[in-house]
Amino acid sequence: MDRRTFLKTSAFITGMSLVSNQHVFSKAQEPASLVLVKDGSPAQMADKVFELLGGVSRFISRGDYVMVKPNLSWDRRPEYAATTNPELVSAVVTHCFKAGAKKVLIVDNTCNDARRSYKNCQIQEMASKAGADVRFVRDSHFVETDIPGGTSMKKWPIHKEVFKVDKLINMPILKHHSLSQVTIGFKNMMGLIGGNRGRIHRPFPEKIVDINRVIIPQLTIVDAIKILRRNGPSGGNLKDVEELNTVIAGTDRVLVDAWSAKLFGKDPKSLKYLQLAYTAGMGEIDTEKYKPVTFTF
């Protein structure tokens, strides 16, 4: 083979591989870090979220011990939008196993009786079917944890598996909350803490940010399929539920909350906890500057 043939052939092969691998080509080298998917079924939207984010293997490695943290906190059926969509949760669990996760753990320190809540929100049943370990939370599972950099608390009991897992995926549902106006990813981490949780509410923004200093998700997937407009976070009235059929996901937890808040109709910068989180360097808050890759089915 002479040099010319070699160059021609190489160029051809390179060109063909680029053309044939449309996905890599069109998305360039950088997969999206913030995505917004609309109007699919929960499973379809989960598929699309991971596709746009560059594949689930970007987050989960073979043999990983993964914790998925949906909201199972209330004794309500899924249509009341007080708890995370169970189909979305089980789709995410399935993705984790496809990427080779060794174990997927689901826990939540519930507000109503744990057995009733786990059952009624249907996550226990559906996520277990997908292979997840859905566990009840007991007092013995919490460890008093130091919170480095904490401004409102130095220590708090936190679920010990948080520090054993390789990856943490936060799966909140977008809801109204009378104190923080809206509850999304940061607030969802309250399901992983013990102690007198009512005390978290004073001063709420500082404490919720402090909790998130030690509980750090690699990925946040917000269920905005059905959202609770009023009377959150417990809900209980179908009139307060609005169907947005949207999933927002991303690696920057502040930005994901900011975009979710925006979707809810709140100015992210008006949310004190987000301001604090931004100031603390946990992520970006500017929804004008950072926009999601969107996809509508």
């Binding site: 109503n112 009786d113 009733r116 009624n120 009512g198």
Partner: protein
């Protein structure tokens, strides 16, 4: 060998019925899908049927089940006591460790149980129901349902959490704990406010065996007395072959119930529980059990006129004492009753303090506790809601489903969700927003009603010291919406008494 086999059959029967009883206790739990009604043994108890219906002036056909037990002595004597009664079996088991091995007579106390029975019935005539105090089945249900559950948690929490925290097979431990939670008990340790009184009662019953074996059954049990009275003519009985009998006295000394007369041939039929032990113990095999035309016999349980009059006097004065409430419970205590409770008087007369509602509530919201004296002397161990311990779970109506006497009426879930057991009110000297002018809203976020009964009003507040202006959400109650479920009081983050409390004001009773 055949004799031993009959003992084995009797013992197995006892164990089966005790296991069945424990099963009824275990099944009184969320998720509630019993395959034996948890109330079965209480429905089958003729004494409860008699006393509760008489005192409560009601008739419930479900208590016709008790006729089976009530009629059994006409054929089989006190077989119920010896073969079926789960308290009898419990006593038999504990007697192995508690009772002395030597023969001890306690015959002089025998008439007590008849006096107790008659007194209870007379009390019931006057409208005071004492089934809870002396009837073996409610006593035992309460003991297993609350004490047993508390002990179970003491042990499992210590052992399983110990293993888990030490990192010994943590996944297996979690599996075991989650299985227990799925089928039997709540996830978190149930908290019982008052275990001392039920504990003293059951402990007392078991410890009395220091005086003689089955002391309770011989001398105190009014259910035993009732069945004994009907056993006089039972054709199935102990028969001694007088030609073989050597008068060795083994049977008399070993009899659990001290039912054998000094001549060794005759049996006190109102005492004999047909345990068959004497036929096994007899060295010459002189004793058999068979059907024989009943000879009327003198029984020691026959009541003298004097003791009958005495019982009447006790009942008369006693029921006066019970009704004479020094304190007015509705004013001195919050006394919130379970949803669906009858009016206070009817409730007291019907509630047999079996603890079924307390047990099943502990697996759900956990607010129901046994009262001590806060609802008056007559209200000892009746269920009251203590909202700092638990709260009434919005989606739960199990206490009414399980009440054996319908002192708590069974309600549909929707009906219960709208029923008021009381109304919450704010203690503004304690409540955080009112006292410190800071946001809290924990009560509001937990309110389970479709239209929340706690409403937040955002008001501008100027700090008098710093001059800082901030928005504070002050909570208010809508008394028309509030049902008094108490989750607000339960979750109030204050230490000690909550900033929001539920009182029985506005309660709806049946």
């Amino acid at each position: 060998m055949k004799k031993n086999r009959s003992i084995t059959i009797r013992r197995s029967t006892q164990i089966v019925f005790l296991a069945l009883f424990v099963l009824t206790v275990l099944q009184a739990t969320y998720p509630f899908r019993p395959w034996i009604p948890p109330e079965l043994f209480l429905w089958a108890d003729p004494l409860t049927a008699l006393v509760a219906q008489l005192a409560g002036r009601f008739f419930d056909p479900i208590f016709l089940i008790a006729l089976i037990v009530l009629l059994s002595p006409f054929v089989f004597g006190r077989t119920f006591c010896g073969w079926i009664c789960p308290l009898g079996t419990t006593i038999d088991i504990s007697d192995r460790y508690i009772a002395k091995k030597t023969y001890q007579s306690s015959r002089k106390y025998r008439p007590l149980k008849t006096i107790i029975l008659v007194t209870m019935i007379l009390f019931a005539v006057f409208g005071i129901q004492l089934s809870w105090l002396m009837d073996p089945l409610p006593i035992l249900w309460r003991s297993f349902g609350t004490l047993g559950m508390a002990f179970f948690f003491l042990i499992t929490d210590t052992v399983l959490n110990g293993f888990y925290n030490a990192g010994i097979f943590p996944d297996t431990i979690l599996n075991i704990q989650d299985k227990i939670s799925a089928y039997l008990f709540p996830v978190s340790t149930p908290r019982f406010l008052m275990l001392l009184l039920p504990f003293m009662i059951i402990l007392g019953i078991l410890l009395l065996s220091r005086i003689s074996r089955r002391f309770w059954c011989r001398n105190l049990c009014p259910l035993g007395a009732l069945l004994g009275l009907l056993s006089k003519f039972s054709p199935f009985q102990r028969v001694v072959n007088e030609e073989i009998c050597t008068s060795c006295s083994v049977c008399l000394k070993k009899c659990k119930m001290d039912a054998i007369e000094d001549d060794f041939y005759s049996t006190e039929k109102s005492e004999c529980i047909l345990c068959l032990n004497c036929s096994k113990d007899c060295p010459t095999d002189a004793i058999t059990y068979k059907f024989q035309s009943p000879k009327t016999m003198r029984t020691s349980t026959d009541l003298t006129r004097r003791s009958f009059i005495g019982a009447g006097a006790v009942a008369l004065f006693g029921s006066g004492l019970f009704s004479l409430n020094v304190l007015n419970p509705s004013k001195t205590d919050r006394c919130i009753r379970p949803p669906g409770s009858l009016s206070e008087d009817d409730f007291m007369e019907r509630c047999i303090r079996c603890g079924e509602c307390v047990r099943i509530c502990a697996t759900s919201g956990g607010c129901l506790q046994m009262a001590f004296l806060e609802t008056g002397l007559e209200g000892l161990m009746t269920p009251v809601s203590k909202y700092r311990i638990g709260y009434c779970e919005y989606n739960c109506n199990l206490c009414g489903q399980i009440c054996p006497t319908k002192a708590i009426q069974p309600l549909d879930l929707e009906e219960k969700q709208e029923l008021k057991v009381g109304i919450a009110l704010f203690l503004k000297d304690r409540c955080i927003p009112f006292r410190l002018h800071e946001n809290c809203i924990v009560c509001e976020e937990h309110c389970p009603l479709p239209e929340k009964a706690i409403i937040l009003e955002e008001v501008e507040y100027t700090d008098p010291e710093t001059g800082e202006i901030r928005m504070v959400s002050y909570p208010y109650i809508d008394p028309d919406l509030c049902t008094g479920c108490g989750i607000c009081e339960n979750r109030c983050p204050l230490e000690g008494e909550a900033g929001i409390i539920v009182t029985r004001e506005g309660e709806e009773r049946f």
